[in-house]
Structure formats: C-alpha cells, structure tokens
Amino acid sequence: MDQTTILLTILGMAAVTYLPRVIPLLALTGRRLPEVVIDWLGYVPPAVLAAMLLPSLVVSDGQSAINAENLFFWAALPTFAAAILTRNLFVPVLVGMAVVIVGRLLMV
C-alpha cells in the first residue's frame, strides 16, 4: 500500500473514530434526560471498565488462562486489595507494577 493511500485511510479512520466520540456528548449535553436514562448512563462506567478489564486479565491467546504463569491475573488480586483499601489511583498502580516486576524476576 502506498503512503498516499495510507494517508487517506488514516483520514477515514480519524473521521469514524471522532464521530462516535463527539455525537453523544453534543446530542445529550444541555438536555434534560429522563431519570431512567441518567441511571443507565451512571451504570456505564463500572460496566464498561469491568467489560474491558476482565478479559484482559484472564484470557491469553483466545483461551481462558487462570494459571500459575498468568502474572497479570495474580497481580490483579493485590492491586484490587490496594484499590479497595486506599480508594486512590497511584498506590494500586504502584502495587500492581511492583508485583509484576517481582513476579517476572522470580519466573526467570
């Protein structure tokens, strides 16, 4: 594929990426929404975070992979604990990364 075609493809990608990001904000902001819609939207953040997170922790190569080698899964346990205890962003990130570093050193 030549660079001009790639450039045009990128422009198309930019358009189809931006529209879903902007349309709901422009359409919904400044409008009174029914309570049930507000409730529904309030459940989206925990739902979408959990939906993105769980497969990334327990799946590898399309197979469920809760086994001794899956460091991402095991590191998630102390990371969750740190998050619940501190309700803070930085401590769990540091705990998670520290566990992964130590785990990798031990596995070598």
Binding site: I10, L25, L26, D39, P46, L53, A83
Partner: protein, 240 residues
Amino acid sequence: MNENSEVKSSRHQRPWLQGMVQAVPIVLGYIPVGFAYGVLAQKAGISAFNTLLMSIIVYAGSAQLIAVGLVSSGLAPLSIIITTFIVNLRHMLMSAALSPHLQSWRKPALAVFAYELTDESFALHATRMDGHERPKSETFAVNVTAQASWVLGTALGIFGGQMIAEIEPFALDYALPAMFIALLVMQITNKVQVIVAVLAGLFSLGLYLLGMQQWYVIIATILAATLGVVLKKWTKQPSS
C-alpha cells in the same frame, strides 16, 4: 498564563498542573504502548509521517494497533476504516456516560474534549467528575498530557525502535490494567454497581471466548447497565 489566573492558581494549586499529575498513570501506560505501535507501524511499511499522523488525528490505541496489522496484511482501505469504526464504537457509550457531568459546557469545548476521549481518559474523567465540578483547564490538561505521551511514545518507537531494549522488566505494560482496576473500584459506591460490574465482566468474558472480539465490550456493557436499572427498580434502592 496571565496574572489573574496566577492568583487563582496559587489558591487552587494550578488546575492544569493537577490535571497533568492526574494523568501520570495514563502516561506510564501510553509511552510503552505508543512505542510498540511506532515500532510495528515502521515494520508494516508505514512512513514516519503517517505513523505520527495516526497518533495525532486518530488517537485510539487498540484501533491503531489493529490497523497496523491490517495494513501489513494488505487489507483494502475501506475494510480498515470499517474495522476502526466498529472497534471504536464503544466510545459512544463513554461519551454518553460523561454527558451528565458536562452539562455546563458549551458545544465547541465539548467538541474539543471529545477529540481526546479514549478508554483511559474516559475512565479517569468518569471517576474524577463523579459528583464534583472540575475546572475545565484541569480536564483539558489531563487530555493533552495523555495524548502528548501517546505521540511521544509513537515518536520514540519510530526513531528509537532498535536502540531501546525491552520494556517488560519495568512492568510498564501493567500500568494501564492496574489503573483500570483502581478506577473501577473508585467508581463503585453501592451494591447494585458491584453486581453490574461483576455481570459486565462475566458477560464480556463469555462473549469474548465465544469469538465476538469486535462487540464483546459494547454488548456486555449495554446488558449489564440495563440489568442495573432493572435491579435498582426492584430493590428500590435510594438513588446512587
């Protein structure tokens, strides 16, 4: 920065600086992933200009990595664009979910804000805006810092791909999953939300393993949020 905002910032600890600090976990994750994207795009035969351009005007990590794969396997531009659209459709849900927090914003500011809405910036904003009005400059500082780190990572990948050794020993590849865990926990304030999150995770996992690798996040989110509304009606729990 003019004198007026200097005075304000000494009282409020400089909102833009606070925004930059809040973005640190995203930066830790974006630099290595942006780096990987830069290296792979070079290998796929995408020019340095186009590689950087994609990080600047598309700015969507997973879609960019998928596009690089599709370019190197020689897929038609239209299929690449359609795939990008499907992969990024989940941002509609995120954009909608932030709208109740941005009621006071005007349309041009919303249009600029939406440009830098990613999974990670969404997760951070949903948590930091929950119940608090945040200064606009702080919000934009989060977004600009995050994208700057993505573009920087991309540039490092393009120009330094061969020189820099593996990032794995530093566990930087765990910065984003760990941040998602922390933000998920911080989102949860009542029992219905716990149930919604658990259901969303399980639906998502099930759909993913069934092979719905384009749609699993969107379908799982819609199902779980809908069940959350039903559950709230049932239990007549006071509003969250």
